[in-house]
Symmetry: C2
Subunit: 518 residues, 2 copies
């Protein structure tokens, strides 16, 4: 079986099941189903607060083989995932699947639980740190399933990803289960990645270190979705939750790339009243935002929205009137949290509203300009953000594929060469985002437009921008680095990369060198 | 077949189906299902704005026999229901079921559509005006189904009430279907009754007279739920939407009743920090709120929340710090709309979060004190708010049964005699709310506590309050009015009264005198 991108896939993968190969970014549209949910109704005399996690586990009757879910707004400060898995391990539970929207270095204890088969499955949109390394080395029994932010919401809502118990890390929860992320020691802002879990899990538990009297205000996740509430000492470490002040890069090469990207944006004709924009929180991406800001200010343009994970930089653009609103699925820093708490034009969105392709229209569909990163790009514009060139898992799509598919203009900004490895190759290690949804690759040495975008090529041809083909970019890089050797990998499939519609766009195979970092 | 209250019911009703007789307020709890929903996914290139209602009808392929739904936040100013039904009638559509959360006098055109079989079914929580009269006289082909606010949400979410197309009157909508009720000519505040419709209908249409660029802010109903958006000249008349300033009664008898009710509340011991409270917008109910306010101020009590349809009076209590938050399913006046728009502690709730018994806990479950009205009460404390003593439909449960079931202390406030008819009878015309969920009946001549509430009787016995039995209240009234004759009705069932769990608590039969008002 082959994907439309030519990737060979088995038709059945042990521990995953039957494979639907990727057939195009918008192939799987039409009539879709949000699944039915069974719930236990709560009568007026019933309470919800339990004394400790042990009581929660007793109530839930968690069994071997169940799927438990987590959201990642506490990022590298999250205490909840480790606490719950440790508690279940203590009870002798085996064969759990952990469905976490993302996995961070703090989740290192999972490695041991993978080794002793407490955890045998993992589903996530982004995996970094020791867990990523352990998966790459074949330590997880079943292949990890790597989804996109919108694809995870789709999988949960469709029933493809059945969650037995959702554990919601709740910076604030009241005694009847209403949750917000804006108050409490571990305040993290919006809770966009937790919404589908709360709505579609068989059981939903609020784990909080800030239990308040009924009712919490504001309410981001409603009492009608929450079975039990439990207070613990700490759900997270604020130092790991927020990344502090997000800063624009000072690297001169990255600044050149950002300037070029901004020139492409300008030439596209999209920078006019109502323009919308998303970028990651990386230094180069933020530099593009800064360049766009200059253009918008100079030309008096008022945009409709900026979206995504939100940084203080986007908050400033909102406050300066450059955008009318923000759509925020997760707050990256304290400034974003404060803004979301206090400014009604800083609006939350769920992961489903953000990027689920099987809704009546996600926010990514309304996005004009998207700035993306890459670890590898092939000459068909297919992008890898899942593995490094060594084959090790070091990330994942997150919102990459969702925004690339939805936006009118998706621009990958990257150095032409990183750590002496060329970024553009004939064949990339892992396909994450299909080239049909990538419009431009901007490097410091030149930029290439996807040949599908004849309209954009026309517009850029009349500028002074260094327009080349992607093959020319590849050749430029190879002249400096030589042609890179293909990475050698073992046969074993350690991860399945799902496109946002649930089809399989690629698989990740086990690395040979088990001494690599991770 | 009999309900637990002794009402004889057929086991099958033509045009309704099989009857599940009411067996107790909390009999139907446990594992429940929120139904699956089929939707058509929207790709980035798809637009949602249609030019006019005709285009909407073309897209939807509305057929004979379908169910179309409406919400009632525009109350007696609503233009949308009449506009849609007229449009469908023009296309020759027949046999529609109109599922509106409530029906008002402005919906009089429905009477003609009932007569000519454009509309053959009606589902609503409250029906007043000419439509109520026409149903009572047998003009609707199928029996109307009368639900509660929470019961309607339950029926929609469970699939008992399948909606083919939900038409959402949207005071503001953007071009991608995001809706709010706080801006626009027809601003009505919260949109609590429309949420389940938008979530569970096969198709959801936003009808607006204030189409704004994407994205609307705030968003109360999300783009992910809306198929199409259409702009019309006017969705509603503000004069009919808001009732102006809600005023406390000046009637001295009503004021005595309110004072007595407040004394019961005080004696109950519930007035302490964290107390919660709901009342209707009627003059006597508001007078109870005023009395409670005095007590709370005098005793320095800070309540947790007030809820329900929200009036300016409750807003004042919020602003004066007597409650920490409001839960608002619909705004009754301009002051409530302004407050909801500007004050984050004035929180919206959906009808499901308000009163659906088959969720993980509705807000009514958290309610301490509920002040209720009645058109008739029997000596088992069963209450009729569906029909007048003539047998004519003149209302319906709305939130009556939901709040009575959920609250710790439900008090019916009523004159002992109204229009020379005693309010307390051996047999009431229609059962709406079961006596097991009614705690106290307060009249100007005395108050009766439900014998089930031994605890409350103990507390009231040590006060000076005129405590009598409900039979004594009945006797007092009958001494003045004589024993009222039972109303004579025809056999034909014109409405089925569903309790909040979907069981049938009573039926309404056709009135004999077709000259009565309506």
């Amino acid at each position: 079986m082959k994907t439309i991108l030519g990737r060979e896939l088995p038709d059945y993968i042990d521990g995953y099941g039957e494979v639907t190969p990727f057939q195009g970014a918008f192939r799987d549209a039409g009539i879709k189903t949000r699944k039915a949910v069974k719930l236990t109704s709560v009568n007026p005399s019933d309470g919800k607060v339990l004394d400790n996690l042990e009581q929660v586990f007793d109530k839930l009757n968690i069994k071997d083989g169940m799927t438990i879910s987590f959201h990642h707004h506490l990022r590298n400060g999250d205490h909840v995932l480790n606490m719950v898995v440790a508690g279940l391990a203590n009870r002798g539970i085996k064969d759990l699947t952990v469905a976490a929207s993302s996995i961070f270095p703090i989740h290192e204890p999972l490695v041991e639980y993978m080794e002793n088969r407490v955890v045998t499955g993992l589903v996530a949109n982004y995996i970094s740190g020791p867990v990523a390394g352990a998966i790459s080395k074949g330590k997880l029994k079943k292949p990890a399933i790597m989804q996109t932010h919108g694809g995870r919401a789709r999988a949960i809502e469709s029933g493809d990803l059945h969650i037995d118990v959702a554990f919601i890390a709740a910076p604030t929860a009241d005694t009847y289960g209403n949750i917000n992320g804006v108050y409490g020691h571990a305040a993290c802002g919006t809770l966009g990645y937790a919404i589908s879990d709360a709505e579609y899990a068989d059981k939903t538990i609020a784990i909080t270190d800030n239990l308040v009297p009924f009712p919490a205000c504001p309410i981001q996740i409603s009492q009608v979705l929450v079975d039990y509430v439990v207070q613990v000492e700490s759900i997270g470490d604020p130092a790991g939750i927020v990344s502090g002040t997000t800063k624009i890069t000072k690297d001169p090469v990255a600044l050149i790339i950002a300037k070029r990207a901004a020139e492409v944006i300008k030439a596209s004709g999209l920078v006019k009243d109502g323009v919308s924009f998303q970028t990651g929180a990386g230094g180069t991406s933020l530099a593009v935002a800064a360049e766009l800001k200059d253009i918008m200010q100079r030309e008096g343009v008022v945009g409709s929205f900026a979206s995504g994970g939100v940084t203080g930089y986007l908050v400033e653009m909102l406050e300066e009137g450059l955008f009318k609103t923000l759509f925020d699925v997760q707050c990256f820093d304290l400034k974003a949290i404060d803004s979301y708490r206090n400014n009604e034009t800083h609006q939350a969105m769920s992961a489903s509203m953000y990027g689920n392709p099987h809704t009546k229209g996600a926010v990514v569909n309304c996005l004009d300009i998207m700035i993306l990163g890459a670890t590898e790009i092939d000459t068909e514009f297919n992008v890898n953000v899942t593995t490094g060139s060594s084959g090790l898992i070091m990330g994942g799509s997150g919102g990459h594929s969702d925004t690339a598919a939805g936006s009118k203009l998706s621009i990958v900004v990257t150095n032409l060469i990183k750590s002496r490895v060329p970024m553009i190759k004939d064949e990339i290690t892992t396909m994450t985002t299909p080239g049909e949804s990538i419009d431009v690759v901007v490097t410091e040495r030149g930029m290439a437009v996807n040949p599908r975008r004849v309209d954009l090529i026309e517009k850029l041809r009349i500028t002074n921008l260094p327009l080349v083909t992607i093959d020319e970019l590849k050749t430029m890089a190879e002249k400096i680095t030589g042609v890179p050797k293909a990475v050698q990998l073992l046969e074993k499939i350690v991860a399945v990369v799902e496109y946002r519609d649930g089809s399989v766009i690629d698989v990740v195979r086990q690395v040979m060198n088990t001494n690599v970092w991770g």
